[in-house]
């Protein structure tokens, strides 16, 4: 103790004994203290990057202008309206430098071209991470404080989705994810409200199970519940991983409570079916273009056909023949809102098609399923399971109410604080990896989790994750002028008998009219201005192919002459474009020299034959519709207006607007209108 005190006092004497020396030492300490701040700045990470940047640009040809635009110090994009304080540009110095696009060394590369200015939106709105941080670790992976790390590039489109609620041409992954939210029925259980207050609505069509026993057997329901994908690989029905007993009990409840419905079944006409030719079934299936909506697995295991209706590979295992016959006769009796058209098949056709579809079965499917009659306790247990699993959120079920808000709302899932997330062991602590894991393996998060297993590919999971990450708090707090609202389908419903026909034929399942319907087939909003009466009448009777390269085509409905006239009258009278003035249109018949002039323009100046066929002998164009009989199909007013500006009549059509002069458009119209049907295909004159 003594020695220590002695040592200190002698040291004090040596240093501060002399006032001059003391002053010197104190000055030195002060100087060092003052040096701390600049030294800290000098050795800070961002300063190192700025020095690196200066070294990088030193040797470039445009060093002088790059040097002039460079400002040392901390840079910040501050946008109070958007809540953005981003200092990322402190290290990412060259983001706006057009000439640094070829720089491989990060963080100096130019930002790739995007439609927005970086200064107007900052960085974290799209990329996530912590904008205010000035070190790499804190800005990019600030896991320690429970903050969101930077978003992996594969989900970057979620940034666009915060403002853009409608589909963007440049964000296919986000668009797919959004479609999946509605198509896979996510929103039946999870409510999602968009920032503008509109709800995301489901577009799938989960069948009602009220009359299920008319349609299928309890054994099929059991096998289906056990593994839906084993029946149809493409079905959107998820796998609930049910035990044998649970699946049996649920099937018992569904079948025992099913009520028979008049007209759901008809006695199968076995006699006519037996008389039918073996090729009649496939050819009727082909003629009716069932494959436009329904897929069937071919011998090679590939699915061929559309995905609007259910896959039919094993339909014979599922549907009872008497139900199938009734369904083919008029599907709207069993399900009033089905997207399936009412084909008006003849009894002979129904028998042929029923027999053909019944033949589409897999003898191994459902083998060894023998269910004993269920006791009342088992049936009651089935009902309990249906309530617990939320089956009624999607399907209408006798004796079970549709549950409200069955699963957590997802309107702001993209801003879920990491502190509220329970991560699985070994998982990266970020919201994106949590969402991916939750979609891939929901039951891994605990035995009590009710969310079923969806059969999704890796890219589908990524797309869904992108769409969910776009649902952020920031999206809700964005200023209104930055928001691009979703364009919902209208609830357009044509009136009268024609309206009833349009519903029965399910025209909206393929065509779009006045903002409602699918985009599989041409938009019919202005169809009345486009086509001629005899052609339309004939086409509705016997649709021939206009575009040779299309796979999905218009099916043939057996419309009565009265219904055909009703529909033709309605289309011609109502679906008229106001921009086409029939009085100002060029004439339908023209002098031969005008036709010849048009022909020359068609083949040489505008080279339309690259996409169209006007003369089957010489032309090979395989993109646009065949024009060999266009003079009998389209009106001269429509042809003229179309040639002048195709996009004005059908937005998004691929035919380029060639900016034709009035004279050229008139001459070409004269030529096209001269291409009349020879009557060979039975056009009524």
């Amino acid at each position: 103790m003594q020695s220590i005190r002695k040592y200190f006092s002698s040291a004090w004497q040596k240093l501060f004994g002399d006032p001059v020396r003391a002053f010197g030492i104190v000055s030195l300490i002060l100087l060092l203290a003052l040096a701390i701040a600049p030294a800290k700045e000098h050795f800070s990470e961002w300063h190192g990057y700025q020095r690196q940047y200066l070294r990088l640009i030193r040797d470039r040809g445009d060093a002088i202008s790059l040097r002039r635009r460079f400002e040392p110090g901390i840079h910040q994009i501050w946008l109070p309206e958007l809540g953005v304080v981003d200092r990322c540009t402190t290290c990412h110095v060259g983001l706006n430098e057009a000439s640094l696009g070829d720089v491989g060394q990060q963080p100096f590369r130019k930002h790739p071209a995007i439609p927005h200015s970086l200064d107007g939106f900052g960085c974290v709105i799209c990329h996530g991470g912590q904008g205010q941080a000035t070190t790499v670790d804190e800005a990019h992976h600030s896991e320690r404080a429970g903050e969101e790390p930077i978003l992996p590039a594969r989900y970057i489109e979620s940034g666009c989705g915060q403002c853009h609620q409608s589909a963007l041409p440049g964000t296919p992954q986000l668009n797919l994810g959004r479609t999946m939210l509605t198509r896979y029925g996510c929103v039946h259980c999870h409510a999602i409200t968009r920032p503008d207050g509109t709800k995301v609505l489901a577009t799938d069509h989960p069948p009602s199970l009220v009359h299920i026993a008319d349609k299928t057997t309890r054994e099929w329901v059991y096998s289906w519940l056990k593994d839906p994908q084993a029946y149809a690989a493409t079905t959107t029905m998820p796998n609930y991983k049910l035990s044998d007993g649970d699946a049996s009990d649920i099937s018992a409840y569904l079948v025992s409570t099913s009520t028979p419905h008049v007209g759901d079944t008809v006695a199968a006409n076995t006699k006519t079916a037996a008389n039918a030719d073996a090729t009649a079934g496939p050819s009727l299936y082909g003629q009716s273009f069932c494959a436009s909506c329904h897929a069937v697995q071919n011998a090679a295991g590939n699915l061929v056909g559309g995905d609007v209706g259910p896959e039919l590979t094993r339909i014979g295992n599922k549907a009872k023949p008497e139900w199938l016959a009734a369904w083919l006769d008029n599907p709207r009796i069993y399900d009033a809102t089905t997207p399936m058209p009412h084909y008006r098949f003849t009894p002979q056709q129904i028998a042929t098609l029923t027999a053909y579809l019944q033949g589409k079965s897999d003898s191994d499917y459902g083998m060894g399923v023998h269910l004993d009659a269920a006791s009342p306790q088992q049936t009651a247990h089935g009902r309990k399971l249906i309530v617990e699993l939320g089956c009624a959120a999607c399907h209408e079920i006798n004796g079970v109410q549709k549950p409200e808000n069955f699963a957590p709302e997802l309107s702001t899932i993209g801003s879920k604080p990491l502190a509220q997330v329970v991560f699985l062991p070994g998982m990266e602590h970020s919201l994106s990896s949590y969402i991916v894991a939750k979609i891939r393996q929901p039951r891994a998060f605990g035995a009590s989790v009710k969310m079923p297993q969806f059969a999704l590919t890796a890219s589908q999971t990524d797309a869904l994750t992108t769409a969910l990450l776009a649902l952020t708090n920031r999206g809700k707090s964005m200023p209104d002028n930055l928001r691009v609202a979703a364009v919902p389908d209208t609830n357009y419903q044509p009136a009268g008998h024609a309206g009833k026909l349009i519903t029965e034929l399910a025209c909206f399942s393929c065509h779009r009219i006045n903002g409602r319907g699918s985009d599989m087939a041409p938009d019919l909003t202005w169809e009345g201005s486009a086509v001629q009466r005899p052609w339309l009448t004939d086409f509705l009777k016997n649709p021939n192919t206009l575009r040779p390269s299309l796979i999905r085509r218009m099916p043939r409905f057996n419309l009565s002459d009265g219904d055909n006239k009703e529909l033709t009258d309605y289309i011609l009278a109502v679906y008229q474009s106001p921009s086409i003035d029939a009085d100002l249109a060029p004439a339908a018949t023209n002098p031969p020299e005008a036709v010849e002039h048009g022909r020359q323009l068609f083949y040489s100046k505008y080279a339309c034959q690259s996409c169209h066929i006007a003369d089957t002998k010489n032309d090979k164009g395989y993109i646009g519709p065949t024009l060999t009989q266009v003079g009998s199909r389209l009106t001269p007013g429509w042809v003229y207006a179309w040639l002048k500006n195709p996009q004005a009549l059908r937005p998004g059509t691929t035919e380029p607007n060639q900016n034709l002069s009035d004279e050229d458009a008139r001459a070409m119209t004269a030529f096209l209108m001269s291409l009349k049907s020879t009557g060979g295909r039975g056009v009524k004159q």
Partner: protein, 251 residues
């Protein structure tokens, strides 16, 4: 005093070593990926690409098709049970990063490209009998603008410019008297300036004294659309496109 201090230091150091070794061992026992160590049972002398090369995908995303390589022996017969390791530049990830060839001698991996647009040169390596054998695979990642271009090309251009037909889309290439150039034809397109490409898109083939079968898109596409299309063409060019800008002299 000094000796005691030294002894203590050594003790601390050795304790530290023991802890480090322990961590190291624990790390070995539980690898982060959770996959068991791969054991090769055979070795080949050659590595060939079966499929999955020359794909074009968006930055950061997993490529549509997996990369499949095959290990062969001297007689060009497939070698099952050989180890193949995949490597790529920063940002590229493989699932799995190493694999044992299957019964047909093939190793398959899913590739996620990095977040910077451009060409990625990946490599697959197998230990081989005497020396390691390496195979290079090229993939392309498209940035936002280039991907917009690829979507536009699919809608407006590829029906004629892409000679390949698919079940969903039949190519119009062979129906045309003058054959259009595929967008990946670097030998032809790399020689054309951006201004020339822009004018042929805007005003059609006759703008450059070429065929009128190529229609003008000046009233259909926006200037940004055309820039995106050109950016896409440049990105997929093979051989790769070298911008003709200023050549910067190195000191």
């Amino acid at each position: 005093m000094m000796t005691r201090l030294n002894a203590r230091r050594t003790l601390e150091a050795s304790a530290g070593l023991v802890i480090l070794a322990g961590i190291g061992l624990a790390g070995c026992k539980h690898p982060a990926s959770g996959t068991p160590a791969l054991k090769a049972t055979a070795a080949g002398t050659a590595l060939v690409e079966s499929s999955g090369g020359h794909q074009v995908g968006a930055t950061g995303t997993v490529l549509k098709d997996p990369v499949v390589v095959q290990v062969n022996d001297d007689q060009a017969a497939a070698v099952p049970g050989a180890l193949v390791e995949f490597h790529g530049s920063a940002g590229v990830s493989f699932d799995p990063a190493a694999a044992i060839t299957d019964s047909s001698g093939q190793a398959t991996t899913l590739v996620a490209l990095g977040s910077i647009a451009g060409r990625y040169e990946l490599s697959a390596t197998t230990p081989g009998k005497s020396k390691p054998v390496t195979l290079n695979i090229v993939e392309t990642a498209l940035g936002y603008q280039q991907r917009v271009g690829s979507i536009l090309a699919d809608k407006y251009c590829n029906r004629c410019h892409d000679p390949e037909s698919s079940a969903e889309r039949v190519s119009n290439h062979d129906n045309l008297e003058v054959k259009p150039h595929a967008f990946s034809e670097g030998d032809t397109l790399n020689k054309m300036s951006d201004a020339d490409l822009t004018s042929i898109v805007l005003h059609g083939g006759p703008a450059l004294n070429r065929s009128a079968l190529m229609p003008p898109y000046g009233n259909t596409l926006t200037a940004a659309d055309v820039r995106a299309l050109i950016a896409y063409t440049r990105a997929v060019a093979d051989p790769p496109y070298q911008p003709a800008g200023t050549v910067y002299a190195r000191k």
